[in-house]
Structures are given as C-alpha cells and as structure tokens.
Symmetry: D2
C-alpha cells in the first residue's frame, strides 16, 4: 500500500472516530488547507530567499516548517478523499498539461513566463 | 516506487529541464502553493456546503477542482523536495500529535474544539 | 485626515521605530497579509454559513474575528504604502471595471457568473 | 465622508444591484478575500525581494499588482460591512496591542521576534 493511500485511510479514521465528518465538506476543508498554508507562509515571511533555503538547518524553525507541511498534507489528503480525487494522478495530468504549455525551449530560464502562468 | 516519490522526481526533472531551480526557493514555492490554494478557494467560494459536497458531479466545476488539486500537489511535493522533507512521514507525525491533543472522548462532535485548533 | 491615511502613517512609524523597514518588501508583506487572512479563515472554517453570519454575536469568536480583520488591514495598508498605491482609488477603479464586466442584467442572481470571475 | 466609508457603500450597492447579497456570508467573503490575496502572491512569487520592491516601475506587473490590491480591498471592505466592523478602528486597536507586545527596545531589528508573532 502506498504511503499516501495509508495516510488517507488513517486521516479518514481519525475524523470518523471524532465524529468530525459532518464538518468535512470540501468547502470547509479547502478553508482549513488555506489556513495551514497561511501558517507555513508565516514561518517564512521575514526570511531572505537564502535564509529560507537553509531553514531546515535552523533548530527552531526547521521542525516548525516540517510540522506545517505535515498539517498541509493532512488536509490536502482529506480533501482529496472527500472529493474522490487521486492526488498523484491529478498532479501527473496537470504536469502533462504544463509540459505542453511551457515547452523546454520557450520556458528556459524565463521568470516572466512563469509569472504569466 | 511509491506514487509520491515518482511524482517528486518528475516535478524535479520538469524544473531542471526549464532551468527553474533558481526560482524554487522554499519562500517562493510556499507563495506559489498559497496562490494555487487561492485558486481552489475561488472555485468553491460561492457554493453552499451542499453544493461543494457535490462539486465533482458538476461537468464544468469538477475537472477544474481536480486540476487545482493537481497544481497544489505539484507545488507541495516540489517544496518538500527542496526542503528534504518526507511529506507522508511529516503528516503521520503531526497526526500522532493531534491524536494526543484531541482525544476521541474530548473532541467528539465538537466544532469549538476544532476551531480552537 | 481620512482614517486610512492616518492609519497608514501610524503603521509606517510603528515599523520605522522598530527598524523593521528592512523586512518590509512587497514580497514579504504580501506573505504576511496572506498569513493573516489564513488566520481569519481558521476562525470561520468549521462554521456553517448561518453561524458565520452570526459570528459577531459570539462572545469568544467575535473579538477574534475583529482582531484578525485588524491584522489584515494593518498589513494591507502597509503593503499599499510601500508600493505607493492608494487602496481606495485602486478599489474604485476595479469596481468600475467589474461594473462593465458584470452588468446588472447579466449578473443578476447568478452564482455561476461569480464563480467564473 | 471618508474614502473607506464611501467605498463601503458603493460596494454594498454593487452587490445589492446584482442580487449577490445571498452569496455574501462572512464565510464566503473570507474565501473570496483569500482567493484575491492568492492572486496577489502569484504576481510576486518568482520575483527577488529587490524586484518586488521595484514592481510598480514595471509597465506590465505594476498595474496588475495595483488591480489585485483593489480586489483585496473590495472584499475586505465588503466583509467588514457584513460583519459590522470598522476596519480602521480594528486596526488601530490591534496596533495598540502589538505596541505592548513588541516594545521598541525589544523588537529593534529582530526578525526572530517578528517570526514568533
């Protein structure tokens, strides 16, 4: 069983055990996901790009960033479960789309292209 | 190879091929992740909870929501790769923490508990 | 002096007094703004639409929502100051645009139109 | 009449004319606000801090950033109207709180203090 399938099942059981399924509409879960991403941003907001690149070496910030990514993953996996979406498949499909839109030649080194995404 | 590991590698190659690694600091990727989550919110914002629960049956909205989840997953996986974090492991660790904080007994049916998270 | 101009000046002084101007790039402030909006979402995420409409009558949640709106306003005003943008003017201009795109006749009662925004 | 009060009234009329009040619960408006902040982040995400500081000099990006700030302001003002909150007052109150928590002496030049916010 892949890691993500096992996680999905464990998060589902976690919610069921607490009778939280009633709160877990896609709308509410998307808000919760955004809230967790907001906490992640808060950890990185005052860092320079260079400091952010070394954040995992920071004894205090590193574990906090890891914990925030854990929270984001939990809500993303739960949202996908509720919607019946396979996240990895959806990502591969989107990546294929992006490959057609941003060919290696055109996109090479271009931040403007990226910004226009 | 698990789905997420393969996806991580494919997204990394995608960025390398386009010489985008220079833009992929944790700070920038966290912003990109938040931007994609914002697009997801935009798809769900005017729906009632009930409409959001049925969104995947909507011919127009369903594929858009799936594509947004794909985008969110791509940036989350890329961010984790750059930080050297195992997403599934981080999520399981956070879930264990939450299990201690929200015991089944105390949290049962309580939205207030959840809100206090 | 209008309320927003006075607030802008006070926030600027607040930052200068603490030597925080070095951290207040548009990029960082946009992240901080998003982080505060994330905290606002967290207060509302498990509420039903009806509960959210009555949130200011809740003794505990009401003041928290107000405080989050205060934080959002502080960072928005600071960001606009750093960018040299007049927020109210920018909003009026955008509203005029939207008025052309969503005429009263076409947009009447239409959530789909809104979703497509 | 202060700029923000006039804007608030104009946004309210805009929504009433289109029969959009039914969609404008605090929950939905907070999501819309977050969606617009996400679009703002998307404009800035690949820029260096220095590029972000000069973004208003960019012919293409400048007007887009201004338009996003306009959108953010519209939804923030609308949300405050629906909740019955005076944004400027709420911000001044929050600023007074922050002044007590971050005294000029303790907070001077400290990013870590800020991060801990």
């Amino acid at each position: 069983m892949s890691g993500i399938a096992e996680l999905t099942e464990r998060v589902r059981t976690f919610a069921q055990d607490r009778n939280w399924e009633q709160f877990h509409t896609p709308k509410n879960l998307a808000m919760a996901l955004a809230g967790e991403v907001g906490e992640l941003l808060a950890e990185l907001q005052w860092l320079t790009p260079e400091q952010s690149a070394a954040v995992m070496q920071d004894e205090e910030l590193g574990p906090r960033v890891r914990a925030e990514l854990g929270d984001v993953t939990i809500y993303l996996v739960r949202l996908a479960d509720v919607l019946g979406i396979d996240l990895v498949e959806a990502a591969f499909d989107k990546l294929a789309d992006s490959g057609r839109r941003y060919t290696v030649e055109a996109a090479h080194s271009s931040a403007r292209k990226l910004t226009a995404e």
